[in-house]
């Protein structure tokens, strides 16, 4: 047990460091679950109206692909239909962020070495991080379940809802625990863990859209996010699924411990390689450096999005066209934010999901400006005749270009695979256009990150929060009947209704100009502040 010595102290430290992050995230998750349940129940107060209004649409594979299966055609199940899956994804992300923050990040930054020299067992940092993450997942799930029950939803169903989030969250704690041990850098661990979330989402989408009983449908049981959906709160209420989440947690942590016992502090499973003794031609300035440091990220995302795009495209086949009922179309439009066929609505929604993920990648690149500063790298660069604007601009430029590249890749892959799979699917050109049309909103979020990084490094990570809120407001705002001006605050609200609709050139231009203004404001602020 000496290997666990100091766990309690480290846990206390971790709780202190996360005293804002975790409560704020949990609060956000609660607002998401309870707010949208409340709003849905206002529109569909009883099972009859619910069944009449949305029941059929929700059996539509396009919607199921995005949010998972509907438990039952009841008002309760409908009230949480979107938030089971969105919450499961967000809880998973919270879990992986917490685990990574207190393990690999600490190790990368050299602080763990200081701690490890004290009376701290080898397993203690991992144990405290896992404990904290498990605690955060359980508290978020339990409060959400209790809140739903308090809103008057079915008790057992509310418990199942909590189980659904907890299953995904706990499984992700296990996966993240393993990822942070296997990878040798914070970014590598993030790539593995976020990749696992993406893969889990895609496998789930493929499984859930397949016909029940088929092999592909069974494949959904391989994904922790698939489990979250298949708990089917307010329907089948499969509480035992929690066991699967706990199982992955145990297996993941056991595997992590096994790796931990075999590797050196600061290392991963793969040994560090040496490299060239002279710099290549491209490594000659801030942009060359930023691009070089972003290469790994770019490659990882391209691989991930090619695979993901292929899955999204191939699902076009299993998504049949829906009856041309105007009332249904109206609701579909509200959900998908697009006008047109089921395939088009499906594409529009998936594209938005990809866009927010890609925006997150871009924000990560822009925030390397402050990460470099925190690490102490910036002063070496700015002590040379490099203009601050140049250094700032290089980071922002990669943050702007990366999403454009990635959305192009996604558009091409989805369009190509989709149009091969189904004759009714939008073609490559249309898909690419829809994909690229999201860029102005993505750039606004990049602009916010740039402004924050330029003006105040301390608060720069708020850019993640801004992106998340913008997305959730854009996605759920209309359902939750938020005031129009709040919904309008999200850049995603102003995107063109593509495919199917027409390109809103004025809005796109306005968003792009706003993004440019934010970037410029950040440059001005960066030129005026202390760099430490």
């Amino acid at each position: 047990m000496t290997r666990l010595a100091g766990t309690a102290e480290l846990l206390r430290l971790a709780v202190r460091r996360d005293r804002v992050l975790i409560p704020a995230s949990i609060l956000g998750l609660l607002v998401l679950a309870l707010g949208s349940a409340r709003a849905t129940l206002d529109i569909y107060p009883d099972d009859a109206t619910a069944a009449a209004g949305l029941g059929e649409i929700i059996a539509n594979p396009a919607v199921v692909a995005m949010y998972g299966p509907l438990g039952s055609p009841t008002a309760d199940a409908l009230a949480v239909f979107k938030t089971v899956m969105m919450g499961a994804v967000l809880t998973s992300i919270l879990a992986l962020v917490v685990v990574r923050r207190h393990t690999r990040t600490e190790e990368d930054d050299g602080r763990l070495e200081l701690v490890s020299a004290g009376v701290v067992g080898r397993w203690a940092p991992l144990a405290s991080a896992v404990t904290l993450a498990v605690g955060a997942v359980l508290v978020a799930s339990a409060l959400a379940g209790a809140g739903l029950a308090a809103l008057g939803l079915d008790g057992r169903g509310s418990l199942a809802f909590a189980v659904s989030w907890a299953t995904a969250g706990l499984a992700m704690v296990g996966i993240a625990a393993l990822a942070v041990q296997v990878a040798s850098t914070t970014r590598g661990a993030g790539g593995l863990a976020f990749g696992a979330v993406g893969a889990a989402y895609l496998v789930r989408a493929a499984g859930d859209t397949a016909t029940e009983g088929s092999a592909v449908h069974a494949l959904g049981w391989l994904s922790p996010l698939g489990w979250a959906g298949r708990v089917e709160p307010y329907g089948a209420d499969r509480l035992w699924v929690l066991g699967l989440g706990v199982g992955v947690l145990v297996v993941g942590v056991t595997g992590a411990v096994a790796v931990l016992d075999r590797r050196d502090l600061g290392a991963g499973l793969l040994p560090a390689r040496s490299g060239p003794s002279r710099a290549g031609r491209s490594l000659g300035g801030p942009l060359g450096l930023a691009a070089r440091l972003a290469t790994g990220t770019l490659v990882g995302w391209v691989v991930g999005l090619v695979l993901g795009g292929a899955v999204v495209g191939s699902l076009m086949g299993s998504i049949g066209s829906l009856a041309d009922n105007p009332q249904m179309r109206q609701v579909l439009e509200a959900i998908g934010g697009s006008a047109g066929s089921v395939e088009e609505i499906y594409l529009a929604t998936e594209t938005k999901f990809v866009a927010i993920a890609v925006a997150a990648a871009g924000i990560g690149l822009v925030l390397r400006l402050t990460a470099a500063e925190r690490a102490g790298l910036t002063e070496s660069v700015l002590a040379t005749p490099t203009r601050r604007a140049h250094w700032y601009g290089a980071h922002v430029a990669v943050g702007i270009v990366l999403p454009a590249v990635l959305m192009t890749v996604v558009g091409l892959v989805v369009g190509f695979v989709g149009s091969r799979t189904s004759a009714a699917a939008p073609g490559v050109g249309e898909t690419l256009a829809a994909s690229l049309a999201t860029l102005p909103a993505v750039w606004v979020l990049i602009g916010v990150a740039a402004l924050l990084a330029g003006a105040t490094p301390r608060f720069a990570p708020t850019a993640w929060g801004v992106a998340l809120v913008a997305f959730v407001v854009g996605e759920l705002g209309p359902t939750m009947q938020l005031p129009g001006w709040v919904v309008d605050l999200s850049p995603f609200t102003h995107l063109s209704q593509l495919p199917g609709g027409s390109f809103a050139a004025t809005e796109a231009l306005a968003l792009t100009l706003l993004a440019a203004a934010l970037v410029l404001a950040g440059a001005v602020a960066y030129d005026r502040r202390d760099v430490t």
Binding site: A272, E379, V381, A383, P385, T532
Partner: protein, 305 residues
């Protein structure tokens, strides 16, 4: 001789911490200037202000005739810097880092680069993450020394170097001085400062408390004198002699500390009292600095500032 650096009344606060509290500093062109002071006294902050990374709250600074905050980019063409905490890009090799920093400065002097890599025995193919502390330091040193900057700002440049490498650094510093370049060197290693520096400035709590050549600073600190006398004075009497303090009497032995300017008077007095043995010890470098670093040291109060 013109001045490479002139700073007057520089103030910088971080929230409630006052890092620089009216700092004055002059570094002449072509000299190697030592910059000493206890931990947290403001040395690194001063260097960052001289680089234009920090905007001073008050006071003026001029580096190579330029305002560092407003003309940072122009100024940096003539200047090289080794930060106090050397951090390297984890995924770039040492060689790539040296090239990158060199190119950012406008080009790499290949001969000098090769010479330095050889002298410091650096393995350039390792990734930043894999270097030991001393080797990280070498990368930063080579990048700075390979430039033909007129002014070098070095923040504890030998931290982590082994004695052999420290010697290499000293040699390179001699070469830099021979070229007529100016160096501002912050350091905690007194022997290094003694060997390399023409003048030193001592900073404490954000102020320069002493500035001058080591000989001048030595003159400001008291010499310790021990004498065997036939006619031993009592402590109170001896303490009244001009410039004398810290008196102790033990049998026929008197020991005391005396300011350099009063040493002659003291020796005459001792001669009258039948001195049979006499040792005079100038302050060691350590004593010199301890007296100035420690604000609670009694010796400090007697040091005229």
């Amino acid at each position: 001789m013109t001045d490479a650096i002139t700073v007057s009344g520089l103030r910088k606060a971080f929230g409630r911490t006052v890092a620089l509290d009216g700092l004055d500093l002059t570094v002449a062109e072509g000299e190697v200037h030592g910059f000493l002071g206890p931990n947290g006294s403001g040395k690194s902050t001063t260097l960052r202000a001289l680089l234009g990374l920090l905007r001073p709250d008050a006071g003026t600074a001029s580096v190579l005739g330029r305002d560092p905050w407003h003309d940072a980019t122009e100024l940096h063409r003539d200047l090289a810097y080794v930060p106090g905490d050397v951090v390297l890009w984890p995924t770039l090799t040492g060689g790539e880092t040296i090239d990158l920093l060199g190119r950012l400065r406008g080009g790499v002097d290949e001969d000098r680069r090769r010479h330095l890599v050889e002298r410091f025995e650096l393995d350039e193919t390792k990734k930043g993450k894999a270097y030991s502390k001393g080797n990280r330091q070498k990368v930063a040193l080579i990048a700075a020394l390979a430039s033909d900057a007129r002014l070098l700002l070095l923040d504890e440049p030998t931290a982590g170097l082994d004695p052999l490498m420290e010697q290499v650094f000293q040699d390179e510093l001699v070469a830099v001085r021979r070229d007529g370049r100016t160096v501002l060197l912050s350091s905690h290693i007194l022997s290094e400062v003694e060997r390399a520096c023409d003048r030193v400035s001592i900073v404490r709590a954000g102020k320069v408390v002493d500035s001058g050549s080591l000989a001048e600073l030595r003159g400001l600190t008291r010499t310790r004198v021990r004498a065997s006398l036939t006619d031993v004075p009592d402590v109170a009497e001896a303490s009244r002699w001009p410039g004398v303090g810290d008196v102790a009497v033990d049998g026929t032995h008197l020991s005391c500390a005396v300011e350099a300017e009063h040493l002659g008077t003291l020796v005459a007095e001792l001669a009258r009292r039948g001195v049979t043995g006499l040792t005079c010890q100038p302050p060691t470098l350590e004593e010199l600095f301890l007296a100035r670093y420690d604000r609670t040291s009694p010796a400090y109060e007697e040091v005229p500032t």
